[in-house]
């Protein structure tokens, strides 16, 4: 509508803005976001669960002052749950109320108006107003199926939605699109080609230490180092069914801090094992001797 939106900052400035909001990552993350913004292509972020994919979207939406519109994916996702659906109950009620008074075609026009249209995330992304384009986050697309990918591809090509009873809505400007996937299944080629690709995995020990210190202020240096060391060892060992991600590191650090611990000892490990292990087998595995081994190694 004639309002100028914020221009894309330079690569260096973008790095500063992202870092200021507490997101610690490798330089390629900034490059990927930068290219997604400047080339106008969606960004596909794949990686292990709990490694900051969704967090990245939140940070980027903040940096760009973009409304975050989130679509959480699951199997069987279709147009009804992602684009629009009619509010049937409201329509039924309206018809009942008007039955006595008006003609049927008058009712029809009213009942298929925008008031009775439930706007789902994709349509909301198209209709978003304001100076800055919204950020459309399509979270965990690997949980949806191939049919949804087809639907999404079509949408990403045009950013327009046709509701037969009303008309066609076209986005005034392209939303920023970020798609995340936990790699539980292979995504189709069509979607991959459409997007730029970023792979997020567990950080190095130094990076994770930095993250812990930023996100859990007040934690002692010694404890933080011990935590990070244990996490690195746990991830290297392939025995865990659900490997802990960065989120687990932060939860664990916060828990230990809340319990007032300054040091990793057996008691604290046993008490807080639930922060690290997210399944019954892993919990049993940790509690059955592995903790003691790790403790010995870390404290030596």
């Amino acid at each position: 509508m004639g309002e100028r939106r914020a221009a894309v900052p330079s690569l260096e400035r973008l790095a500063q803005l992202i870092e200021k909001r507490g997101y610690v990552g490798d330089p390629e993350i900034v490059t990927a976001v930068y290219l997604s913004l400047t080339l106008g292509k969606p960004l596909l972020v794949e990686g292990e669960p709990g490694c900051g994919k969704t967090e990245l979207a939140k940070v980027v939406s903040d940096v760009r002052s973009a409304e975050l519109i989130r679509l959480q994916c699951y199997e069987g996702l279709d147009a009804r749950s992602t684009i629009y659906e009619w509010d049937y109950l409201k329509q039924l009620l309206k018809i009942r109320m008007e039955e006595a008074r008006a003609q049927s075609n008058e009712i029809e026009t009213e009942v298929f108006g925008e008031r009775f249209l439930l706007k789902r995330p994709l349509l909301r992304a198209v209709l978003a107003k304001g100076p800055n384009p919204p950020l459309l986050l399509i979270d965990e697309i690997d949980r949806a199926d191939e049919e949804f990918e087809g639907l999404l591809l079509e949408f990403l090509g045009e950013f327009q939605v046709t509701v037969p009873e009303i008309g066609t809505f076209k986005a005034e400007r392209r939303p920023i699109v970020m798609i995340t996937s936990n790699r539980t299944r292979e995504l189709g080629d069509g979607l991959r080609r459409r997007c730029l690709y970023l792979y997020l995995t567990y950080p190095s020990a130094e990076k994770e230490l930095e993250i812990v210190k930023r996100k859990v202020p007040g934690i002692g240096d010694k404890l933080a180092r011990q935590i990070v060391e244990v996490m690195e060892k746990l991830r290297k060992d392939d025995s865990m069914v659900k490997k802990p991600g960065i989120q687990e590191t932060l939860d664990w650090s916060a828990a230990l801090l809340a319990l007032g611990r300054k040091d990793l000892d057996r008691v604290s490990l046993m008490e807080t094992a639930g922060c690290v292990a997210k399944s019954a087998e892993d919990l049993m595995w940790l509690r059955g001797g592995v903790w003691d081994e790790l403790l010995l190694e870390t404290n030596s």
């Binding site: 390629e28 990927a32 290219l35 596909l44 329509q91 991959r192 690709y197």
Partner: protein, 439 residues
């Protein structure tokens, strides 16, 4: 204003980028002109003064799978950092004009002649298995004999029953009901369509229903062609050919000491022509059996074919030469990924068969159905036994129930019982909905 020199530099950089993308394509990375354009634009935006940024920008645009990162690194280092430039041969220019299939055939033939497997680098995960690495170097393990097979005189007698058996199996196994719905006679009330039809009439007269669609199954065939399976190769070729051509979205692999995808050799060809393609291009017949490492290679390089709507059909006699631990472990992993595992063992045709071979025993806990090769020649019997083993399938009336004109039967709203109050249609619909929720 860009200077003359600046413009020349930009052109040279663009040429180099395009050449680099071509090299990546030769290294089996899938890089289309679209990605090349992105790469050029990205470098234009992000700049090329910082090597890390340059590297990242290229990778972000051009590599679409984390499995391809290693190949990209290698090519990047060799092209941009070693200072040597690979010559663009005249070959490339002419290659662009040839059809895809012929190019694939030629490159396969050329490398077969050199004795190096072409599949060595495609889709390999970081590291790849020992076999693929060795194969890339042109070295074969002592247990592996390169032996081709000829299929002259292959009859087509059993083909129809093979086809029938395969179709019945895949249809029977398609029991997963997805969350998508389709118009049908039975099932949940579809408010949207009920409503739409009512508006046309101005009155709620009929109730439209919907049911969940039974999703189709994908078939992945893993066929043992080692020495012990030699006697059955004719029948195997027929099974593989029918799988590739008659079952949509199927993938066909053969293995002995190595795994090889042969879908391309079979699809779109007659049995005879497919058989001669296979005999020309597959050279791992009659070697030793390594089921475990075949499964590992399948999981590493082709995991995109193994999904929750996939059925894995393994045809092998279970005489495993490799480590049993690997076999057990990989069977467990594969069973976790796919919907069902069906194992066909030629030895099971003989009466009194018991799964005694070590490999067979190790794999047994993760198999949903074990049968003999005869299931492909006696499809009706097979279906009976199969049905019992797999369990009840979707109820009749699931899926499409449209009549010949393509319209589904709409059900009249049950009218009010005589003697009761005349409940108007809206309330009748509401009560139907409540009944449905209760059931």
């Amino acid at each position: 204003m860009i200077s003359q020199e600046g413009r020349r530099y930009a052109e040279r950089l663009e040429t180099k980028l395009v050449e680099f993308c071509r090299l990546l394509r030769d290294a089996k990375l899938s890089v289309t002109p679209s990605e090349t354009i992105d790469a050029v634009r990205a470098v234009g935006q992000a700049g090329f003064s910082d090597e890390q940024v340059f590297h990242d920008a290229l990778r972000i645009c051009v590599v679409k799978r984390s499995e391809d990162f290693e190949t990209f690194e290698k090519e990047f280092r060799s092209y941009w950092q070693s200072g040597r430039k690979r010559a663009i041969t005249a070959d490339w220019a002419s290659k662009g004009r040839r059809s895809r299939r012929r190019r694939a055939d030629e490159s396969r033939r050329a490398s077969l002649e050199k004795g190096v497997a072409t599949r060595a680098v495609s889709g390999s995960s970081s590291g790849g298995t020992n076999e693929t690495r060795r194969a890339a170097l042109g070295v074969f393990s002592p247990l592996e004999r390169t032996q081709r097979k000829s299929f002259d005189g292959l009859g087509t007698k059993e083909v129809p029953s093979v086809r029938r058996a395969l179709k019945r199996m895949t249809r029977r196994l398609a029991t997963n009901r997805g969350r998508r719905s389709i118009a049908s006679r039975g099932g949940r009330i579809d408010l949207g369509r009920t409503f739409r039809s009512a508006l046309g009439r101005g009155e709620l007269l009929t109730v439209e229903r919907e049911n969940r669609i039974v999703s189709r199954i994908r078939l992945v065939v893993l066929c043992d062609i080692s020495g012990s399976m030699d006697g059955h190769s004719d029948r195997l070729v027929k099974i593989l050919h029918q799988s590739a051509n008659r079952i949509p979205a199927s993938k066909v692999f053969v293995f002995s000491t190595r795994l090889s995808e042969i879908g391309d050799h079979l699809k779109g060809r007659s049995l005879r022509s497919a058989a001669s393609e296979v005999s020309r291009n597959v050279e791992i017949w009659s070697s030793g059996t390594r089921i475990g490492s075949a499964l590992e290679r399948l999981l590493d390089g082709y995991s995109r074919y193994l999904g929750s709507h996939t059925v894995l059909l393994i045809i092998s006699d279970g005489w495993e030469l490799g480590e049993l631990d690997l076999l057990t472990d990989r069977m467990r992993e594969v069973r976790r990924r796919v919907s069902k595992v069906v194992w066909v063992n030629p030895l099971a045709d003989s009466p009194g068969f018991e799964p005694a071979a070590a490999g067979m025993k190790a794999a047994l806990p993760n198999i949903d159905f074990l049968g003999g090769l005869d299931i492909f020649t006696r499809p009706r019997e097979f279906e009976r036994v199969f049905g019992k083993a797999i369990g009840p399938g979707p109820a009749w009336g699931a899926g499409r129930t449209t009549n010949r004109q393509g319209r589904s039967g709409a059900q009249l709203l049950p009218s009010a019982k005589p003697g009761s109050f005349d409940l108007n249609p809206t309330i009748r619909l509401a009560s139907l909905l409540c009944e449905q929720d209760d059931s």
